[in-house]
């Protein structure tokens, strides 16, 4: 049996077991919802489930998945974009300038050990209950892995490439943009991929904790309403978005680059 058929069969069996277990009525439905109620939560979440909410001068519909997805995606695009904008240049510096490596390098490594959500209390004190606080947590979650991977890639530029480029008269900025940056690209890409998943996790954690209108808040709302099928439906949406970004965006780019760079045989 080929791989995907086996996986499909396993999934169907798992879902069937779930529904069967629910029918035994061992737990109340707010602890263990049925498959069908999760599916209907999903459907209504995408179709009609919205509560108009007045927020000062403007109104927003919350509770509908598309609007929550929109809010979360906008946040992650901004936060992740910032992370790349800070992380890649910082990584280039870290990889090439020994002084920066010796000073900032150890701090970056140390901060990497801190789970990003631990920045939230600090962010709330600095920025208040605001968009900025969440953005800060997202950036702190993603920027360090982007920085470290970039620095690593730069650091591991094959010396042969540099020597070849230098004997051909390349120097300065040309050496950077023409050789070091492209040589480091596979490492930068894996840093970007890692950074994205860190950013996504940090965002969800941040959104859980306050009135944020994003997917994270839908989870909190589900809990507050004892609506377990909503909680699980939103979890599925979060997983789907994470997987989609990984499979549809990062994996193809990474595969192409690794093939071209000769790091993995072409299929």
């Amino acid at each position: 049996m080929s791989g995907w058929r086996l996986r499909l069969l396993f999934l169907v069996a798992l879902l069937a077991a779930w529904e069967a277990l629910f029918r035994l009525r061992l737990w109340p439905s707010y602890v263990f919802p049925s498959l069908s109620s999760v599916i209907s939560s999903l459907i209504s979440g995408f179709t009609d489930r919205s509560y108009p909410l007045a927020l000062g001068s403007f109104t927003l519909t919350i509770g509908s998945y598309p609007s929550a997805i929109g809010v979360s995606l906008r946040r992650i695009l901004v936060g992740y974009g910032l992370s790349l904008g800070i992380g890649i240049p910082l990584g280039l510096l870290l990889g090439r300038v020994k002084f920066v490596q010796d000073t900032l390098g150890s701090i970056v490594l140390g901060l990497q050990a801190l789970p990003s959500i631990c920045w939230l209390p600090l962010a709330l004190l600095w920025f208040g209950l605001s968009e900025k606080a969440i953005m800060f947590v997202v950036v702190m979650g993603a920027v360090l892995s982007v920085t470290l991977s970039t620095a690593d890639g730069v650091h591991n530029t094959p010396p042969l490439y540099l020597r070849a480029a230098r004997t051909m008269g390349a120097r300065g900025l040309r050496l950077y943009t023409g050789v070091i940056l492209p040589a480091a690209l596979p490492a930068i890409l894996s840093g970007m991929k890692l950074g994205w998943s860190f950013a996504w996790r940090s965002l969800m954690a941040g959104e859980l904790l306050y009135y944020s209108l994003g997917l994270g808040q839908l989870l909190t709302m589900g809990r507050e309403l004892n609506d377990m099928s909503q909680v699980i439906a939103v979890m599925l949406v979060i997983i789907a978005i994470g997987l989609l970004a990984d499979r549809a965006v990062f994996a193809p780019i990474e595969r192409r680059v690794r093939e071209r760079w000769g790091l993995q045989p072409a299929r």
Partner: protein, 263 residues
């Protein structure tokens, strides 16, 4: 003289103490001459080439090209390495054009030169190919075209064919002799293969290790183009081999044996 090396010495500090890579090397290479540096691995021949390239600095002594001291890499002396050192993110044409782009040659001129030199190495139909799609021999031919495109006066070749199979190497020997005859470049060629040195060189300088120095010099005046299986060349090879002392012999004999078995 195109290249003049005067009392060049180089010592590397290692954890096991100092290694005298090169000691007091004095050497002249005339314009248009093909000189091979022959020696076992570890004799400092690559270090010497790197110093001529300007990639390393000698501790003492001096290298001059056209009577001007060499202090840094320059595209009048392009190096071809054992691993082709092509950039995998560029296709063949852009690899060949890299050096020209680096010094701001306009696009139309760049493309014309690139195409011309790709023709010379017989890869005209592989312009759009990427590095991972090429064989080892093709990669070295691209590296050769890339060096030639800069139109340097001196080519510095660091065991460029050592990683190739015997057939590919033989055909590249032919091509290199052709290109040399056509362009009149000055070539300094590093190898540990006695026969390769005698096929290619007008002069073969035998280097010996620890400390690295030039032990003997052979002139090779056999008619060109030379081939590895020419009888005169095989005789000359044996004469050179007979002339070597034991340390060099050991490394070289192994090489010749290996080739004889492969042939």
């Amino acid at each position: 003289m195109k290249l003049e090396l005067r009392s060049v010495s180089k010592t590397f500090q290692t954890r096991r103490g100092d290694t005298h890579a090169l000691q007091d090397i004095t050497l002249d290479v005339a314009a248009g001459e093909f000189v091979c540096l022959l020696g076992p691995s570890g004799c400092g021949k690559s270090t010497l080439l790197n110093i001529v390239a300007g990639l390393e600095k000698p501790d003492t002594g001096e290298v001059r090209m056209d009577a001007r001291p060499v202090t840094e890499p320059g595209r009048d002396r392009v190096v071809i390495f054992q691993e082709a050192a092509l950039f995998p993110w560029l296709n063949v044409r852009d690899n060949v054009a890299f050096g020209l782009a680096a010094v701001g040659v306009p696009r139309s001129e760049r493309m014309a030169k690139t195409d011309r030199y790709l023709q010379i190495v017989r890869l005209g139909s592989f312009k759009k190919a990427f590095v991972h799609e090429l064989s080892g021999g093709m990669k070295q031919r691209v590296a050769l075209a890339r060096a030639l495109a800069l139109e340097p006066e001196v080519l510095l070749m660091d065991e460029p064919f050592a990683a190739l199979d015997a057939q590919t190497r033989d055909s590249l020997h032919d091509e290199l002799q052709d290109i040399w005859a056509q362009t009149g470049k000055t070539i300094l060629f590093v190898t540990h293969n006695v026969r390769e040195a005698l096929v290619l060189g007008d002069r073969v300088l035998l280097m010996s290790a620890r400390p690295g120095h030039i032990k003997r010099e052979f002139r090779c005046e056999l008619p060109r183009p030379r081939h590895i299986e020419d009888h005169a060349l095989v005789d000359a090879t044996l004469a050179v081999l007979a002339d070597l002392r034991e340390e060099v012999l050991a490394a070289a004999r192994e090489e010749v044996e290996h080739e004889r078995l492969a042939a």
